[in-house]
Amino acid sequence: MPAAVTSITRFDAAVLLRRIAVAAVVAMAACGPLGLLFDVPLPALWLRAATVGLAGVLAFSILERWPRRLPKRVARWALQVGGVALAVPFTTLSIYLFSTEVGAPPFWAVPERLSGVALLTMAGLLLGPWTAVAALVRQKDALARHQALAFDLERSELARQALDARLKLMQAQVAPHFLFNTLANVQALVDVGSPQAPAVLRSLTAYLRAAVPQLHDGGDTLGQEVRLVEAYLALMHMRMPDRLRYSLHVDASLESILCPAMTLLTLVENAVRHGIDPAEEGGSIDIGIERRGTRCLIRVADSGVGFSQSGLPGTGLATLRERLALTFGGDAQLRLMARQPQGVCAEVEFPALESMP
């Protein structure tokens, strides 16, 4: 019922109309028992009761805004209920005063009319303030609901922001070891005027752009991940041309789907660092990305030394699991398996959702 809330801050015709309608209905309900005691035709009686109700609505609505500042001791709700209670006898008396035909005796001189005033006042005093209190309670409820909703929205917004911040933090830090080793290689290529140098520099730039959180320009699609991994593998292949072989098979229709930053890179870096690099003869990394129904399956299989020799995976994979959970809830899986005769296969599976442009 947001309308009830907005009426607190600005005048709202719809609210006033609804209040009038409620007053009319209450008046009609009151006319049932009253009609048994009055010998006035029902429509006329209802008109009188509705007038009383309307006056109550007016008192209620006016006191809702006026006076603008109340002394501390006076609660506005009490003022409104009191106003309604006062409006009832006042209006009833006015009706009977003004409806008295010219020349007729005043109403207090006619017993039937006097009891009419009393009955109408009683009914009004019974129903008016109660209706006012009910309206106030409903208003408070609606306000509370509205605020709860606003809080919820704010909370989820804050949660999302916190999550974004975490994601940014969780993006892989470029290890100085990797960076300086790579730079040493680039320098070696430049020193001898190798035609490879420009391409390698481009790969390094692409890698840094993605891997350094401050340079990362958001937008996490699988296509971007694949570009990043291609850059990383090109760099690593330059560094260990005799020890690293790799292949990459990507279903091109998946390039535009949502994929948390660093997902693929974490798997591939892990394969290089814990599988290929510790092996004297190196090995191969085979990357396959395919659709499985409505889901995307990423497989990174290496023929490196395996877990047993290189110890267990580090924080990179634990972080990746967390990141997948943050992005897809429980709908993403990360599995790690030993390969025969040696090596590790890592699989990540998650829903293939088109990323928002």
């Binding site: 100085p176 070891h177 960076l179 300086f180 080793n181 730079l183 040493a184 290689n185 320098q187 070696a188 290529l189 020193d191 001898v192 330059m238 560094r239 260990m240 041309p241 005799d242 020890r243 690099d277 510790p278 092996a279 004297e280 190196g282 877990f307 047993s308 267990l312 995976p313 924080t315 994979l317 634990a318 699991r321 429980g330 899986q333 599995r335 790690l336 398996m337 030993a338």
Partner: protein, 257 residues
């Protein structure tokens, strides 16, 4: 004076070639007689060629540069080459070992070369390195302090899997093995680890994994509630129907709960 000879060991071919080129410039008389791709080859080449000076990359697959150095011992002048790794650089800066930081700068290389030339000219014995190398190996080993395991390596049916520690509900001792009750994508699953419970528990995060019975350890994050008996207690789990016994020896851990 005969020509000085050198060995260069680095797993990255571009860097081996670059260092050879830089040495040719900084020390034209020096002959690079051997190149190695890892520690094992470095030792073999050293035994075969007996070079005067060994340039050893610290980080190499298999046998590292530091290990190779301790095998070569005092039979050659040693110069370590390391990429910028704060631990390695700190370790070297404290010791009297010669080292170069990649990318190798010519000025820095020239310093190293003149030091080596002086030592050769004065026929000084090679620096006593044993203690230094032990210290260095210890420091490089300590560089990464052991963290509690966030994954354990276990047999699930026919496959070897890595199980995330936070998906483990509890561990049950099974003679020499440990049975691991965990959640494979939310589904209760069992796995087997070839490590005794006590040993496995020592490697897991003590904030989360506590022993509750001679043969049982539980992941506190998987506990839904605990009912207390007079001297024992029973642990009820969030994701599993079975409950776990807490024996008298371990019940004190839940006194404050």
């Amino acid at each position: 004076m005969n020509h000085p000879t050198a060995l260069i060991a680095d797993d990255e071919p571009l860097l081996r070639d670059a260092l050879a080129r830089q040495l040719a410039q900084a020390w034209p008389e020096l002959r690079v007689v051997a190149q190695a791709r890892n520690g094992r080859e470095a030792i073999e080449q050293f035994e075969a060629m007996a070079p005067d000076i060994c340039f050893l990359d610290v980080h190499m697959p298999g046998i590292s540069g530091v290990e190779a150095a301790s095998r070569i011992g005092r039979r050659a002048h040693l110069v370590f080459v390391t990429a910028h790794d704060q631990y390695a650089v700190q370790a070297f800066a404290q010791g009297a070992l010669d080292y170069l930081v990649k990318p190798v700068e010519m000025a820095r290389l020239a310093d190293t070369v003149s030091r080596l030339q002086e030592r050769r000219a004065a026929a000084l014995p090679v620096t006593q390195t044993d203690a230094l190398l032990r210290q260095l190996a210890a420091q490089l080993g300590r560089a990464a302090p052991p963290r509690p395991l966030s994954w354990i390596y276990a047999q699930v049916g026919q496959a070897l899997r890595l199980i995330p520690a936070d998906q483990i509900d509890y561990l049950r001792s099974d003679t020499k093995y440990t049975a691991v009750a965990w959640r494979d994508n939310g589904q209760p699953a069992e796995a087997l680890v070839r490590t005794p419970l006590k040993e496995l528990l020592a490697q897991l995060d003590g904030d989360h994994f506590v022993q509750v019975h001679r043969a049982v350890a539980v992941n506190l994050r998987a506990v839904s509630h605990i009912t207390r008996g007079s001297e024992t207690a029973t642990i009820h789990l969030k994701h599993r129907a079975e409950s776990l016994p807490v024996s008298r020896t371990f019940v004190h851990q839940f006194r404050q709960m």
